[in-house]
Amino acid sequence: MEAILKIEDLRVEYRSREMGQQIKRAVRGLNLEVYPGEVFGFLGPNGAGKTTTMNVLLGFVSATAGAAYLFGVNVREPIARQRIGYLPELTYYYKFLSAEEILRFYGKIFRIPKAQLQQRIDAVLKLVELEHARRRPIKTYSKGMQQRVGLAQALINDPDLLVLDEPTSGLDPIGRMKVREIIQRLKNEGKTVFFSSHELGEVETVCDRVAIRHEGDLKAQGRVDELVREYECSNLEQVFLKSIDYRLAA
C-alpha cells in the first residue's frame, strides 16, 4: 500500500540568534510512513520536535536535509496540501467573520464550486454542532466553539488526510469527548488522521499506530498493543515513559 504521508531522513536545524550558541537540532533523521485509513498518534514531551515535524509537513519550515511527501508530492510544493486538513493547537481565526464566512473563504481557496460549497458548509457545521451559531462573529464564540470552527475549516475540502496538532488542548471534558467522537467518525469514514497529543489515554483509544519522539529522535514506533507487549507495560503511558527513559521518583 502506498503511504499517504512519508518522511525520509528528515533533519531540521535552527541556528540560534544568540552569538556563540550552537545549532539546535529539532529533528534528527526521522523516517515515518502513514498509510490510508490509519489514525496515527505522534507523541513526545515538549521540545521533542513534534510541532517542527508538522511545520515541515505543512510547508511552514524548510527541512535542513531529507524530504517529506504528502500523497507522493514533496511538501515544498503547495499543491501537496490540496487534500489535507489542518487544525492548529491554538485556534485563531479572523474574528470579524462568522463561522459560515470563514468556511466560505477557505472553500474558495480550495476552488469548491458555489453550490457544492454551500452543501459542504452545511455538512461540516452540522458535524461540529455549530449550526445554531453559524452567522455569529467568531469573536463571540467560547474556546470550545472556536476549536470546533477549527475542525470545520480543516474538513471543508473533505480531506483525505487530517493533521491535528493537539486537537483537545485546553478543552473541557465535553469538548474533548466531542473532538474524540469526530476523530472516531472520520476514522470510520476511512480518513487518515495524523495527530499529536499529550493525552495518552485519548491516543490509546483512537490511534492505530503511534510514534514516540524525544529530543529530536524517534524512540518507538508501532501499533499500540504491540508496543505495550514489547515494552512489557500495561498501558501506553508506561510505554511512553519507558521509551524516553523517564525515571519516576522512588
Partner: protein
C-alpha cells in the same frame, strides 16, 4: 472515493489536484496559475470585508464630509471664487484620508496574520506566501480604490453644486492617478510590514517616507547640483531610485478647471506606478519567502 481524487502513485503529476470541483486533465502549471489567482482574489476579498467592518474608513469619510460641508456653507467675504479654495481644502483632506487609509490598512495585514496566528491555517492550504502578499496588496489597493471613489463622488457633487460645471475627464484622471499612487504606497507599506515587526513603526516610517518624497523629491536634483562629489552622485542616485509620488498629483486640474492632461502622459504615469509597485512587491515576496512565521 472517485478515481478523480487520486494522485499518480508514481509520484509524478497528480491526476487531479483538487478533491472537489477541479478538472481532470489540467497540467500542474495551469492549475497552479488558476488556483494562484483564485487564492489572491479570495485573500483580497477578505481584506475588503475587514475594511467594511472596521470604523477607520467611516470615521475619515464623515470627518472629511463634515469639514467640507461646514466650509461650503460659509460665504467668505461674498467672494465667488471661494469654490476653488473649498475644492483645494477638500482634495487635500481626501489625499490625507487616502494616505492614512492606505498605510494603516496595509501596515497591519501581515503582522496581524502572524500575531493572531491566522497565517497558519491559511498557509496550511494550497496557498503560497507570494499569494498571501499579492492577495493582501490587491485587497488593500481595491479597498483604497473603493474609498477614493466614495470621496471623489462626494467631492464632485459638492463642487458641481457650487460651480455648476463638472469636468469628467479631469476628475477621472485625478482619481485614477491618485489610486495608482496609493498602489505604490500600499506596495511600499507591505514591504515595510515584512521588514518592521510592529505595525506602528511601519505606519510612522511609511507615512514619513511618503510625505517626504511628496514634498522633497522634486527638489533633490537641484540640491545635488549644489553639492560636491561623492554627495552629488549619492543624491542623484536617490533622486532616480525613489518613486516620484508628486507626479501623480494632478489636483490643480480639478481645482482650476484646466481640463485633462494628454492621455499618453496619463498612461505613462500609470505604467510608472505599476513598475514601482511591482518592484516593491517583488522585494516583499523575496524577503517573506524565508521569513520565520512566528
Amino acid at each position: 472515493m472517485s478515481t478523480a481524487r487520486f494522485f499518480n502513485p508514481s509520484g509524478g503529476l497528480p491526476h487531479d489536484l483538487a478533491p472537489i470541483g477541479a478538472g481532470l486533465s489540467s497540467s500542474r502549471a495551469a492549475v497552479s496559475l488558476r488556483s494562484g489567482w483564485g487564492n489572491i482574489r479570495a485573500i483580497a476579498g477578505l481584506v475588503i470585508k475587514e475594511l467594511y467592518r472596521r470604523k477607520d474608513f467611516y470615521v475619515l469619510f464623515i470627518l472629511t464630509a463634515l469639514i467640507t460641508i461646514a466650509l461650503g456653507s460659509v460665504n467668505f467675504f461674498g467672494e465667488d471664487k471661494i469654490a476653488r479654495y473649498l475644492k483645494e481644502i477638500c482634495l487635500l483632506l481626501i489625499w490625507i484620508a487616502g494616505l492614512v487609509i492606505a498605510v494603516t490598512t496595509t501596515a497591519r495585514q501581515i503582522p496581524s496574520e502572524r500575531e493572531n496566528r491566522t497565517i497558519f491555517p491559511l498557509l496550511a492550504k494550497p496557498v503560497t506566501r507570494q499569494h498571501l502578499i499579492l492577495g493582501k496588496f490587491l485587497g488593500c489597493w481595491l479597498a483604497c480604490g473603493q474609498a477614493l471613489l466614495v470621496f471623489y463622488v462626494f467631492f464632485g457633487i459638492i463642487s458641481a453644486a457650487r460651480e455648476h460645471e463638472f469636468a469628467l475627464a479631469a476628475y477621472f484622471q485625478a482619481l485614477t492617478l491618485h489610486w495608482c499612487m496609493l498602489g505604490v504606497i500600499v506596495a511600499m507599506t507591505l514591504l515595510g510590514s515584512i521588514v518592521f515587526a510592529a505595525p506602528s513603526s511601519n505606519n510612522t516610517i511609511t507615512l514619513l517616507v511618503a510625505v517626504g518624497i511628496f514634498l522633497l523629491a522634486r527638489h533633490l536634483n537641484k540640491l545635488a547640483l549644489q553639492l560636491s562629489e561623492p554627495w552629488q552622485s549619492a543624491i542623484y542616485g536617490v533622486y532616480f531610485a525613489i518613486p516620484h509620488l508628486e507626479l501623480f498629483d494632478v489636483r490643480d486640474l480639478v481645482i482650476h478647471n484646466w481640463g485633462a492632461i494628454p492621455w499618453l502622459i496619463w498612461l505613462a504615469a500609470v505604467a510608472y506606478a505599476a513598475v514601482y509597485s511591482a518592484i516593491f512587491l517583488t522585494a516583499a515576496c523575496l524577503l517573506f519567502r524565508r521569513k520565520a512565521l512566528n
